[in-house]
């Protein structure tokens, strides 16, 4: 390696690259012809659908009547086992539930909705991504497992603004650092064993914090990092989304 090689490698290291041709076509205004319309780029969903969900999903969910609303999201991820209710709770008088299922192609999918709206998905949002502890299938996308991620949605008439996500199962707490400097620590709760070895966290957003619409540099205005902590307070999972690559950050990014 020459002197210049070292300098230029340090300037732009060979980070993993996850192609997303469907996104390119979408930006170009071209409909993809070779594959049916379906959810793609679930890692992007974590960042994009999450903040748009309060707008998008309720509209989509209106058509669902007899089963989980997210399974009617045309061409969405197919469960490998039935969705399970991971947690029920109440935020400021608004009952909610967190539902999750492992999918054939997109790892773990999880959804938050107003309690009792299985079919309608009122206030619901969903995100998917490969998570450590969730069994892969032959069709699961060949990307590395995340150890923690998040989904966040703005306030609606049924739910306050919230943040929720999966984390590796040996995390007992999650520390959330928002872009405005506020820090929130919340306990984790384990998923049913049928789902896999994974835990979750969920919390309403503190006053003064609201998700921002996506765009270059915008996410960091909302969220600086989410970190999973073990019983001794050590960081064991980290996502600092502004500069994460494919939803993965080194632990040092959360220190």
């Amino acid at each position: 390696m020459t002197f210049d090689d070292d300098v230029l490698n340090r300037l732009a290291p060979a980070l993993p690259w996850q192609p997303d041709w469907a996104d390119v076509l979408g930006r170009a205004g071209v409909r993809e012809r070779r594959r049916p319309l379906r959810l793609r780029g679930k890692r992007r969903l974590i960042l994009i659908l999450a903040v748009l969900a309060a707008v998008l999903i309720p509209l989509i969910a209106l058509g669902a009547e007899n089963e989980w609303w997210f399974l009617k999201y045309g061409g969405g991820p197919t469960p490998t086992s039935p969705p399970v209710v991971v947690k029920e709770g109440n935020w400021d008088g608004h009952p909610w539930e967190l539902v999750a299922f492992p999918s054939t192609t997109d790892g773990l999918c999880f959804s938050v909705m107003s309690a009792g709206s299985k079919a309608g998905g009122i206030g619901g949002a969903m995100s998917c991504g490969p998570i450590a502890g969730i069994a892969r299938t032959n069709e699961t996308k060949a990307t590395s497992d995340m150890t923690i991620t998040f989904m966040s949605a703005g306030a609606s008439d049924r739910l306050p603004a919230y943040i929720v996500g999966p984390v590796i199962d040996n995390a007992s707490q999650v520390e959330i650092r928002f872009g405005n400097g506020q820090v929130l620590r919340v306990p984790t709760f384990a998923a049913p064993a049928s789902l896999g070895r994974v835990s979750f966290y969920a919390a309403p957003l503190p006053a003064g914090v609201a998700p921002t619409r996506p765009g270059p540099g915008r996410l960091r205005e909302f969220l600086k990092s989410v970190a999973g902590l073990d019983n001794d307070g050590n960081i064991i999972a980290c996502l600092a989304p502004a500069a994460a690559v494919d939803g993965i950050s080194p632990l040092s990014a959360c220190k």
Binding site: V7, L8, A12, L15, V24, A243, A244, S252, A253
Partner: protein, 160 residues
């Protein structure tokens, strides 16, 4: 040279084979992985939208590269002008170049910097570098030599 028609499929082929290298180029220009990824995605989208404008007389990779560089430029000031991150905003510290490296690169003239990036991150030959940057192929070698010399000198200066 005969005129060639660029298709979405040919652009996709470049994407499948080279987008990771374009990402490094954009990362070097923006110093922000999020912006770099966005620049690559947007650059290829621009190439599709402007495919009719490809004259077919040069390299498709060079033409797409210009689209990516333009997208990187639009997303943020070029590396010669960017502001350094706040310390606590750099979230991939182990791989992040230190301030001296970025300061040294910032001192390079834009053409020298881009020629160096194209050679290193994309392994472009002199002709393709010339097509991408819109310069004479005969000047590429001298540009690269000057870039290496100036970068070395700049690193020595900022290290003092």
């Amino acid at each position: 040279m005969s005129s060639k028609t660029v298709t979405i499929e040919s652009i996709e082929s470049v994407y499948r084979n080279r987008a990771g290298d374009f990402f490094r180029l954009a990362l070097a220009r923006t110093s922000d992985p999020e912006l770099a990824r966005d620049a690559v995605q947007e650059g290829f989208a621009r190439a599709i939208r402007a495919q009719a404008g490809f004259r077919g007389s040069g390299s498709l990779e060079a033409w797409i590269c210009r689209c990516v560089l333009n997208a990187a430029h639009d997303s943020r000031a070029p590396a010669g002008e960017y502001e350094l991150h706040e310390a606590d905003d750099v979230v991939w510290k182990p791989e992040t170049p230190d301030a001296e490296v970025r300061a040294a690169v910032r001192r390079l003239p834009a053409r020298q910097r881009d020629a160096l990036f194209l050679r290193f991150y994309l392994d472009f030959d002199y002709l393709t570098i010339a097509e991408t940057l819109g310069i004479e192929v005969g000047t590429v070698s001298a540009t690269l030599h000057a870039a290496q010399k100036n970068l070395t000198q700049a690193l020595e200066e900022v290290a003092r």
